[in-house]
């Protein structure tokens, strides 16, 4: 099957099997920033925005995404390679260790801050509860979200 979708603002024609997940389709199309941690919807490493909704791309069929808009961590600013304040906050606080969970964490953070520009610790921890990280103990990740929120508020 083939279908069109928009990934990070650019049109993409994908060729996929009926059973294929969005995760596999994205990764085979070169969007390797979307990570495969479990394929069971339990780690959050594969999180992307599909039409502004946060989804585990391993739990969505590629077919479902046809016609949709997908945003990955690499597409947050709309300019390739240009970091978003969330990326910068993660780097500055030490919230990135191995970095395998980070693309998913960043997407969950983006989704949270889109609806709640000044979240509390508990709200952050709840919002990130679908994302596992084995490296950081989450301390600096929570710190990164606060820092990013502050900078995004300052930037209006």
């Amino acid at each position: 099957m083939t279908g069109n979708l928009t990934v990070n603002g650019a049109p993409l024609l994908i060729d996929f099997d009926p059973e294929e997940t969005l995760l596999d389709a994205l990764r085979s199309a070169g969007f390797t920033e979307v990570k495969r941690g479990c394929e069971q919807g339990e780690c959050g490493a594969c999180l992307v925005l599909l039409d502004d909704l946060l989804v585990n791309s391993c739990q969505v069929f590629a077919a479902t995404a046809v016609g949709g808009r997908v945003t990955t961590t690499a597409g947050l600013t709309g300019e390739p390679g240009v970091p978003h304040p969330i990326h910068e906050a993660y780097a500055a606080t030490g919230a990135v260790q191995c970095g395998f969970c980070t693309p998913g964490m960043v997407m969950a953070t983006f989704a949270l801050l889109s609806g709640n520009p000044d979240p509390s610790d508990d709200e952050i921890r709840e919002a990130l509860a679908g994302n596992l990280c084995r490296c950081t103990g989450y301390v600096k990740i929570v710190e990164a979200v606060h820092l990013a929120a502050g900078r995004m508020r300052d930037d209006g």
């Binding site: 990764r27 390797t32 780690c43 970095g99 969970c101 990130l128 596992l132």
Partner: protein, 773 residues
Amino acid sequence: MGERSVGLSLAKIDALPLALGSAAFTADIAPRGALVLRFRYSEQAHAEIRSIDASAALALPGVAAVFHHGNCPETLYTTAGQGHPEPSPYDYRLFDRRVRYVGDRVCMVAAESAEIADRALELIEIETEPLPALFDPESATEPGAPRLHPDEAHAVIPADYDPEHNVAARVEISIGDTAAGMEEADFVVTQRYTTHQAAHAALEPHVVACSLDARGRLTIVSATQVPFHARRITSRVLGIPLHRIRVIKPRIGGGFGAKQEVLLEPYAALATLRTGRSTVCELSRAETFVSTRTRHPMRVDLRTGVKNDGSITALEMDALMDTGAYGSHALTVLSNAGAKVLPLFNRIANLSFTGCSVYTNHPVGGAYRGYGATQGYFAFNQHIDTIARRLGVDVVEYCKQWHIREGETSPVFEALGEGKEGVSQTVESCALGECIDRGAAAIGWGEKRDRRTVVDGWVHGVGMAICMQGSGIPRIDMGGATMKLNEDGSFNLAVGATDLGTGSDTILVQIAAEALKVPPGKIEILSSDTDLTPFDVGAYASSTTYISGGAVLSCATQMATRMRAVGAAALGCPEKELVHEAERFRNGRTDEVISFEGIGYRTLYATAQEQLQTSASHTSDVSPPPFLAQFAEVAVDPETGDIRVVHFASAVDCGTAINPRLAEGQVEGAALNGISWALAEQFLFSAGGRLTNARYGRYGMFTAADAPPMTTMLVASHEPTGPYGAKSVAEIAINGPAPAIANAIYDAVGVRLVDLPLTPERIYRAIRAAGQP
């Protein structure tokens, strides 16, 4: 004044690319069109394979090859990626006629896609004859117990290896006379403790990709902690020259010891050699849980004789470790349960450590952050808490009175190392006393201990644990570094060290930048490529900062010396007149300067033409321990046994923290791993030995919402043998959470939980058994 780099919390050099997703992991750069490798696993805990018929699988379009015991090299080896000769026994084959746990590898298919490979695996007909299984480590050595390994399995170092009795390793040391010591005691405390099996659960599953280059050499890209050991072991297993293999480690999604195992490289290399095609093998999450490696479960018996003045007159520690189906790290993890624990209270004159690692038909143990110390400290710290309570003294004061100090030694250092005798050493840096004080203050020890404050029906309690670890394996671990100067005054630094996400690439740059007095941005690091970088044992045993950092420091110092000579010639003055300043030398007499850029330019394009490059290796005769005090405040619901960690504090002495923020991150990650393991993570088995919860959602690993508030403090000391005073930090903080929480539970509700994990059900039962509340 020169630039400072050491002690700054610089962002990790790969942090932004990782956040943006542009930094590549192994699976991201697997060659296009590679054959996909998939395994079929044993459904039985113990069986003999009678026959394998792969004809139907081979007939399936898209199947390139099938691999099994009948067509693969039969080399015996260990998957443990350790130095050579390995202290782990050679008891493993690529594929064996015998399978030894549910999840053991039976055969492998190479096919054009994962779907075809999986279909092919199902078409392979396998006949097996079941054998009696062994699940109880306590009975493993008894007469009549099923035997797992044949006579060919063997140790390659002098070791007490006895496969006939399922003994993968035995350790025995004795200092003084424990029987006499027990006699002197006013009372004796005896207790048995057990710790449970656990998964590393790194977010990136195990993965490898392999291809042939134009000259027919193998390039293996691997998520490995040990590229050089992976090269050596692959070469030996397959009987191909080592120089025909190149191993590259790109970004890696966490290791924690699991990727110190050479689990996939030889398989991918064999498949590539046989098919002439690139291959890729990416394990699923379930495979990673079941068929990689785990934390060894351990039973520890402690017996101590104590005088009423608090002195311990004798200590006997006996450990039984379940190494599972294969003896990966069976000797060294076991040894470490004594070696990293017993020196902590160094005034015990009579002590003994006896230990045995046994085979069972369980998933295989391996290296896991903490490496035996975690298991040993669970017992030790609860035992000390019990003793202090018997004595009627505050355990904080008791620990401060008896722990090892600067300038002191312990006979255990020399008697017990990793799998052989150790190396005698004197502790030259120890801020444990201050760690204890600061941790106690952070948790509010004075106001909370023995108070049993009740809030909304939950009873609060506090507990503590203290630990030490090591910094590399003395006289075994080695790291190498090379460096060259470019014409713009920048440097290329190549290290064998392996950054697992710990930030070692960044801190090694900081060390070099400090020595050269240049901004860290002037040093470009390349790491973990067996063709391009010097040797390094890899990332384990908390060795990188101390051992690899030592190599980088000496490499950079030599570079500064070489540059001084060029600078002096350029300025026409004696070398000693030059003052090393930020990115330049200045003649202290005339104030004439020559910049590093000027020196670099001269060495490549002008009068002093010679590529300046330096190379250094580092080993150590000692393994200076970092120290740690951890404190837990818990709340227990006595009606249900429910438990919450209210606050967790860690105070760690890792010498100089080269990058404090990254060091904190190591402590926080390890501490939460320890907390999650203590309370929730566990392996559940069916009666037949099948792991029934091999997925994140059922395993119990903590999320951000489960994690308690944590306070982390770095307490400075200066380790004279370490680069800029640094010691290790990566492992130690996983050791204290389980005993600190168990001690806090006792403080809250008066029950002593000696078996992990500390589940509500266990707490509930213990409270009921004690006749409370």
